[in-house]
Symmetry: C2
Subunit: 302 residues, 2 copies
């Protein structure tokens, strides 16, 4: 089965506290590594959990509040100093590049590797990335400054050959059979795809909803996704505070998971007022059974 | 005795490795807190060692290589979010303010507290700060970009009253006696300062030399200082590499300590090639006996 997992590097909102670091997650899909947000100390967190920063080829930044990107300049600088030459693709708000460039300029740094920057506008959901494994779409969130989440969707995979049966078939027909097409041999015999192949694993999806007011606007984008990461900054008794700061409560995060029909809910981005997280967990789980705390060092199979 | 101590928050050069964080030190002089450099993760380091970021009122940044300032924007943001209202004085290269302001701008942050910014030019040693406890002078270092160290010098303190003797003297004369002046009473009696007071502790000094090629240009500025922090990025077998990158070897750091007549040498800013530091320590100590490793969490009385 193709690897599709996410490791949590930070779960704190706004400021680092109680050994909780600001937002960052490392997604591994088929041994390619995608970094999602990059709060201060992300490179230290990667080292702590024995994850190689050098393996990251794609970085997605949801918005320009510091707890989601202050670690990026340090990570990029360290990769440079450690000899990286392969390109880094970065997706984020337009001004992010300006912020990076001014810091490289004054440190007199010319990166040894190219940054390929893809500015994101938070106006409507868009396909922003695609490779042979997955697509990435933006999720337009409702926060105090332009903010997008990211929806990672695995691609539908071709059917897999049944080895024992396929070895009697000329290889020229494999591609068609794997695509689900039946094949007619020169002698008129029909090879039916379903006799020679099995369906691949169903493609899976992961939605990352970083910072947002709970509202209906972004639900259509993430409808039916398998695993939902959703911020749950506050308990529901602080609903007013959540609304005022454009954040979500644990109860609301569960509600989102229910509405979109998620299979699993990960909650994170916890306010510094909560020294322990058990109550946030229980509140979300009361609304959505398969809830997990997205805390530092945990890896979730997606 | 007036408190005068420094706590090391980071000892790594360039990139964080082996649980060594990039440069940062917290100086406490008479219960006022001065932060010297602020590499990524400094706010997390402060929390780790139970030091209150809120107590910092002065920040000194030596230069704009990221390992000396990437943690500043996060620290300042957290202080804002935690409700700081008192001013923060920041001393550093002119472009530092531009770098901070662009990040506050795009996060739509208007700080609740004022930043008072004092641009430093690395052209000649200058007095840049003075209060009742100490003065701070820049040390013009020789690095790849404009870089200054900082010399913290306690002020000469007034003599201290000997309590038992002073209680028979009208308080109106205390000030003069503490200043070392003899006093004539109306009846002609002479009160000699040395009979009623004792000398205060000698003022002490701390020189912070962050990143520099070993050369003679900055030695006059730090001549005679009590405790010298000096970078010792490499072992002396990598002298060529040290010269090329405008850094110092452990042996050279010891030489600086000897030339200026320091009482104690702290070495830090260790290259990521050294997993353990014992050999760097031994090399420096071979040249200067009273050497210590300036590693995370250690506090040195100055």
């Amino acid at each position: 089965m193709m690897k599709f997992e996410v490791t949590i590097l930070g779960s704190s909102s706004a400021t680092p506290v109680f050994n909780r670091n600001p937002s960052a997650q490392l997604l591994n899909c088929n041994e390619k590594c995608y970094l999602i947000d990059c709060g201060e100390g992300t490179q230290q967190q990667l080292a702590k959990f024995n994850l190689k920063a050098a393996r990251i080829d794609y970085i997605f930044i949801s918005h320009l509040h510091g707890d989601h990107y202050f670690g990026l300049i340090g990570l990029l600088s360290s990769l440079h100093l450690n000899g990286r030459i392969k390109p880094m693709q970065i997706f984020g708000p337009k001004a992010l590049l300006e912020i990076l460039e001014i810091q490289f300029k004054y440190s007199d740094t010319v990166l040894r590797y190219p940054i390929e920057f893809f500015p994101i506008e938070a106006d409507e959901p868009k396909l922003i990335f695609e490779n042979s494994d997955l697509t990435v779409k933006t999720i337009v969130l409702n926060h105090r400054i332009p903010t997008t989440g990211f929806l990672f969707q695995q691609k539908k995979r071709q059917r897999k050959l049944i080895k024992d049966k396929a070895e009697n078939v000329p290889m020229a027909y494999y591609t068609a059979l794997k695509k689900g097409m039946d094949v007619e041999l020169p002698d008129g015999e029909i090879l039916r795809s379903e006799d020679y192949t099995v369906a691949a694993d169903a493609p899976r999806s992961y939605a990352y909803c970083s910072d947002t007011l709970f509202d209906e606007s972004y639900l259509p984008t993430i409808m039916g996704c398998d695993t939902l990461y959703h911020e749950a900054t506050f308990m529901h008794d602080l609903l007013d505070r959540a609304r005022e700061t454009h954040h979500t409560t644990a109860q609301q995060a569960a509600e989102v998971a229910n509405i979109i029909g998620a299979k699993k809910l990960l909650i994170g981005h916890f306010s510094s007022r909560y020294k322990t997280l058990q109550m946030l967990f229980e509140e979300a789980q009361a609304g959505f059974e398969n809830t997990e705390l997205a805390v530092e060092g945990r890896t979730f199979q997606l």
